[in-house]
């Protein structure tokens, strides 16, 4: 009898309350992010993509796991590395790609580059600013707005572990605790901040333990396990929604690629990279988990793969067909009242 209950419990637990459909959707998100990242890098290496790339490969468990807990009207404040989190929240892939190619249909209308993708009105995601972690204090403001209006909404901010060395990271954590803001702080600890390893960024063993002295819980989780990340993030989101204040989540993975496309990352020990790629691949691990629980089968996995490839190709075509902005528009949109951002861009890319 007791065994029965715990077996049922175990069955319910592994899936963290997610239905089969949602689990398959989660796999689709993981595969979409992985495939997008790989194809974008290929195009970059072929010289077919302008600008820089900041691969999030190997960290999909973190990105997808945390963002999958958010509702549409919750807000997400990511950095240059976190496109996978934005795609998980539902960012329009076609427009992402238009932005990558500097086109008028990109979210910034060709004004900003690959790592500065965001869609506040459509998707409640912040358009990243390079300076780290500049969006942490801003997330406090969004969370303050939800609290003031008594809305059950949450702001989630992500940054790398290197960014936690910056003063404003600490400011934001402190203020969020003082005002008990509905915010979830995520640190994507991919173990390298450009070329700098953890011990040269902080002298404490973990990032997570820094939360406690500020007055709220911090949790460290294995970023290779998307469901574990999801479980922890969901608790944090629920807590924030219920008025319980902030939580810090440190999700540990490895940055598989260089800091940006130009960086071969020779400073990352080979064995470390191999260990993570072979044994801690969040996408492969989750796929195997779903197969072992018979939530999906090889045929369905193949269809997911075909779908993400098709979506990428459609996005690519859309981006290539989208016009560039016209040079004469370059000074428009500085002030709200000039109307640039309220006007529809014309087919030629200008606003007339």
């Amino acid at each position: 009898m007791a065994t029965d209950v715990s077996e049922k419990q175990a069955e319910a637990d592994w899936r963290v309350g997610l239905s089969d459909d949602r689990l398959r959707d989660l796999l689709y998100k993981l595969k979409l992010c992985r495939y997008f990242d790989e194809r974008i890098e290929a195009l970059y290496r072929q010289g077919r993509l302008p600008g820089a790339i900041y691969s999030g490969r190997g960290q999909e468990g973190t990105h997808v796991g945390v963002a999958y807990t958010l509702r549409d009207d919750d807000s997400l404040f990511p950095t240059h590395r976190d496109l996978s989190a934005q795609l998980t929240k539902g960012l329009d892939l076609k427009r992402v790609m238009a932005q990558f190619w500097g086109r008028i249909d990109g979210f910034t209308r060709g004004r900003d580059g690959n790592s500065h993708v965001g869609d506040w009105f459509g998707n409640r995601t912040w358009t990243p600013v390079s300076h780290l972690p500049l969006a942490y204090p801003v997330a406090c403001g969004a969370a303050l707005a939800y609290k003031r209006r008594g809305e059950q909404r949450v702001a989630m901010a992500i940054c790398g572990e290197g960014a936690t060395s910056n003063g404003r990271w600490h400011e934001a954590l402190n203020v969020s605790a003082v005002h008990r803001l509905p915010v979830v702080w995520v640190v994507n600890n991919n173990q390298w901040a450009y070329s700098t390893p953890n011990p040269l960024e902080f002298a404490v063993p973990t990032v997570a333990e820094r939360a406690v002295p500020y007055g709220f819980p911090g949790i460290r989780v294995d970023g290779a396990d998307v469901l574990d990340v999801y479980r922890v993030a969901l608790q944090a989101v629920d807590r924030a929604r219920a008025g319980g204040g902030p939580t810090l989540i440190e999700s540990v993975s490895l940055r598989w690629r260089g800091h940006a496309g130009h960086d071969p990352a020779k400073y990352v020990p080979k064995e470390m990279l191999e260990e993570y790629m072979q044994h801690k691949d969040p996408v492969k691990r989750f796929e195997e988990l779903l197969l072992s629980h018979e939530v999906t089968d090889a045929e369905a996995v193949k269809r997911i793969q075909e779908r993400v490839e098709r979506e990428f190709d459609e996005g690519f075509e859309f981006a290539q067909a989208s016009p560039f902005p016209v040079p004469s528009d370059v000074t428009k949109g500085l002030w709200v009242e000039d109307g640039y951002w309220r006007s529809e861009p014309s087919h030629e890319g200008g606003t007339g």
Binding site: L134, G141, A172, V175, W335, E337
Partner: protein, 294 residues
């Protein structure tokens, strides 16, 4: 310019700033600013204040004295000493529909929130189309024996960050009308009050709550024909004094008060210079690359 007389009209803690005018209806620059804040908070509940010691204490210069009693601690929000997060919270809450007004204890401390101001707030709308209706107020300028770190004029820095409106009023009426306009503006506005003017200059300020002064319009404060002094802030008062002295020597000076530093009203400046053929640019900040110097 007796400060004490104006303040003695105060109706007491918790009262509307308007009650602090003289019987003749004069308000100091400081009271005019407090009136603007009060009226905008009464008019629009999305407007709120945040900053250090602005609640029970009423702010370092007492601009928000009595506000917390009327509007409560949520709308008169005391923050930790965390300038980047003060600005960040203004940005984030503006994105979510509020109209925040952040007070810096001194304009000097805006450097401690600089990145959020010039990197995040200034550029955000241009890049994303998201309006940021927010005001950053800072008591600026020298002349009050307040040390190297309480006397700065940071307006050229902010003028170099496209996307910020930078306002530097010289008179109580302009301060009130411009601050009300800034609160209603959908762009981030840096509103630099001058602390030398705070309690020294008073005038009859319009009572009408709909009274606004448009941002981006200079004003000729004194007409003349021989030379134009183009200036703003506390230097307007110095220029007016000089103009008065020079008139006794037969020199007719025109004083152009920019009122807004960015966007600059070059039309009014050029019209004046067309008339006088001579211009003197006068400002209090560092001479090199200041407002109007090339």
């Amino acid at each position: 310019m007796a400060t004490a007389q104006v303040e003695s009209g105060a109706a007491g803690h918790g009262a509307e700033p308007r009650g602090k005018r003289t019987e003749a209806g004069e308000a100091t620059y400081l009271i005019a600013i407090a009136e603007a804040l009060w009226e905008e908070m009464e008019r629009d509940e999305r407007v709120y204040l945040l900053g250090e010691d602005i609640g029970a204490y009423g702010g370092a210069f007492k601009v928000t004295e009595g506000f917390i009693e009327r509007f409560g601690p949520e709308r008169v929000m005391d923050t930790p000493i965390a300038e980047e997060t003060i600005v960040g919270m203004a940005i984030g809450s503006a994105m979510e529909g509020f109209r925040p007004i952040a007070e810096f204890q001194y304009a000097d401390f805006m450097t401690s929130g600089f990145d959020e101001i010039v990197t995040a707030a200034a550029k955000y709308h241009y890049r994303s189309g998201v309006p940021l209706p927010m005001v950053l107020r800072g008591p600026s300028g020298g002349g009050v024996r307040a040390s190297s770190f309480h006397s700065s004029n940071p307006e050229p820095w902010f003028g170099h960050a496209p996307g910020l409106k930078v306002i530097c009023p010289a008179f109580p009426s302009d301060a009130k009308g411009l601050l009300k306009s800034a609160v209603r503006d959908d762009n981030p506005c840096v509103f630099l009050e001058h602390k030398w003017i705070y309690r020294r200059i008073k005038e009859v300020v319009p009572e009408d709550q709909a009274f606004l002064v448009p941002i981006g319009q200079a004003k000729v404060q004194r007409e003349g024909t021989d030379v134009s002094i183009v200036t703003y802030g506390m230097m307007v008062h110095l220029a007016l004094e000089a103009a008065e002295n020079l008139s006794q020597k037969g020199v007719s000076v025109e004083v152009v008060d920019l009122r807004t530093v960015h966007p600059l009203d070059s039309g009014t400046v050029l019209t004046s210079v067309e008339k006088t053929s001579r211009a003197l640019v006068l400002y209090e900040s560092h001479r090199f690359l200041g407002v109007g110097r090339r």
